[in-house]
Amino acid sequence: MKTVQFREALREAMSEEMRRDKNVFLMGEEVAEYNGAYKVSQGMLDEFGPKRVIDTPIAELGFAGIGVGASMNGLRPIVEFMTWNFAILAADQIINSAAKMLQMSGGQYHCPIVFRGGNGTAGQLAATHSQSFEAFYAHVPGLKVITPSTPADAKGLLKSAIRDNDPVVFLESEKMYGDKDEIPEGEYLIPIGVADTKRKGADVTIVSFGKIIKVAHAAADVLAKEGIECEIIDLRTIRPIDYPAVVESIKKTNRCVVVEESWPLASISSEIAYHVQRYAFDYLDAPVMRVTQTDTPFAFSPTLIDEALPNVDRIVKAVKATLYRN
């Protein structure tokens, strides 16, 4: 094992895949000469040159579409968005073009492309720069959606995403790029669509993903001191969701709390709650609870941020509610 930052894990994944396959290239704003807005692609221009590490103008719709066309014609683009908030401008190419190409062409053209970048809240950036897109893109058949929470998962999943023959939405976080953690030495892949049990526990299952899972871990530590053992399932992939991993855990704990960084309506937590009531109804000893962002646009002031995001107290309360404890 070795210790690396999240951004280094992503860079290793991209660089290894670019060494392995000359059809893989990286394009996006500031990825080359500036070495990445968040330094994810630092040094890649030096190694791969301007043909394969390409600075684009600020034109998300345009370069996303160029990526889609290149993927239809045999290349395997990695399209970096500075953040997924800006990729709203590119949604037509992700949702209407990439996700539908294989079906609309009757199986003749496919889009092996990875769209990646920072997702979710990242401090005091206010409403337009703070959104999470798991539920938006998970809604769309034809896409795969990945949200890693650790450097090790990020590397293994990004490598799988680059090798995947379907279009992949890969959601990172500006707040996680500096996270340091151990990753395996040498090459490894993590399969898309497989959840990971990040913490074992017999009392309550917490389902979460992405950087908010850290808050779930902190809450689990607090609860452990009170003798409540949480099992934390990290979905890692949001489309397809590893439903069996969730159901199996709930068969053991009989209780479920979903922790999600984004809003409550039509969310991943709604989806999990539906699935659990449908496929683990007889195992539940309490309603499924969820802790999400407030049902409001994200705001600037620190006090408003504290109010908006899931925190340890709320998660502790939700977990205890499933145990009928105060």
Binding site: F63, I66, G69, L75
Partner: protein, 352 residues
């Protein structure tokens, strides 16, 4: 490099006299091929329109009638290894590229034998074998995609060129301007073709812009641009060949404002109150199919009997396409779960 905008005369100002053999720039074989291909496009579309009215199939149906010279000249001015992409008025492009009309008609009918297995319909024809990369339903979405196809050709150091067609309405999409900028900056081997029939559905070019000469749109990006008489396969062929040569030499994209006309409505449900019958008649007088036939007759390229053979062949092809489509099965429901993911065992959510 041509930086200045060349201005071609608008089709309505064009006077076309049948050229005598000695003045012709194109061969007998070329005229025969143009005539045969354009007649097939015309008759296919006429039949498609009739069948649509008879409710033989549903969806949208955008006919290419009147615009045939654009595809005919583009195909003859390009190489078989070049790639083509267009918007949703896409029936004629694969016909020009040699796709069997049977699979196109079957696609209109939503049958499993269709060129997109009945999953794309009228707006989403594809034929990978003929390098026809769609058939795209969102106005302007094909513009960056087409540039991306060209990006891959350049990346792989081929000398193939990509032809991306759009209507005059698509010129107003932001995607075009973003793409023009990058395509010029990166010198991508892509030719942007405006099939300028002067109407975005019912809205004329004049009503949507101060810049009515669409060939000027390329100027901001220093993209070589010109207007072309789109009722003439010869003019289209020459402009395409010149642009393609530039692209193959690494000089990047060209914008061609090809001025054409659709005789029919935007789609099948268009009352066409935005134009006069006289305007339609004016263009019909320059009909490209009739023009090629006239050249063939004037130069005695074919006997009356041989012309009749072509016409009969076209009629038979269209008739057999309908029979093929009507005798083909609809896709089974379970085929919904095919061609969505390349991953064969994708775990779909299946509910009641």
């Amino acid at each position: 490099m041509i930086m200045a905008t060349k201005s071609a005369s608008a089709p309505k100002k064009t006077t076309r006299k049948s050229a005598a053999k000695s003045q012709l720039k194109f061969s007998k074989e070329q005229y025969i091929k143009w005539y045969k291909d354009m007649l097939l496009m015309r008759k296919f579309e006429e039949k498609a329109g009739q069948l649509y009215i008879q409710q033989k199939f549903g969806g949208f149906c955008h006919l290419y009638i009147g615009q045939e010279a654009v595809v005919a000249g583009t195909v003859s001015g390009s190489r078989p290894t070049d790639k083509h992409m267009t918007a949703y008025r896409d029936h004629a492009h694969p016909i020009g590229l040699g796709t069997d009309p049977r699979v196109l008609m079957a696609e209109l009918y939503g049958r499993t034998t269709g060129c997109s297995k009945g999953k794309g319909g009228s707006m989403h024809f594809f034929d990978k074998e003929k390098n026809f990369m769609g058939g795209h339903g969102i106005v302007g979405a094909q513009i960056p995609m087409g540039a991306g196809v060209a990006f891959a050709e350049k990346y792989n150091e081929t000398d193939n060129v990509v032809f991306v067609s759009m209507g005059d309405g698509a010129v107003r999409q932001g995607a075009l301007h973003e793409t023009f900028n990058m395509a010029m900056n990166w010198k991508l081997p892509v030719i942007f073709i405006i099939e300028n029939n002067n109407y975005a559905m019912g809205t004329s070019v004049e009503r949507t812009t101060n810049v009515t000469d669409l060939s000027k749109i390329g100027d901001s990006y220093e993209m070589p641009s010109q207007s072309v008489n789109g009722m003439s396969p010869e003019a289209v062929h020459e402009a395409i060949e010149e642009a393609a040569t530039r692209a193959r030499n690494g000089e990047g994209p060209t914008l061609l404002d090809i001025r054409t006309y659709r005789y029919k409505g935007h789609s099948m449900s268009d009352p066409q109150k935005y134009r006069t019958k006289e305007e339609v008649a004016e263009y019909q007088a320059q009909d490209p199919v009739e023009h090629c036939l006239q050249v063939i007759k004037d130069n005695k390229f074919l006997t009356e009997e041989e012309i009749k053979e072509i016409q009969d062949w076209v009629k038979k092809e269209v008739q057999e396409s309908i029979e093929f489509a009507e005798n083909s099965p609809y896709p089974e429901g379970k085929e919904l779960y095919e061609d969505v993911y390349m991953q064969e065992d994708y775990p779909y959510i299946i509910e009641y």
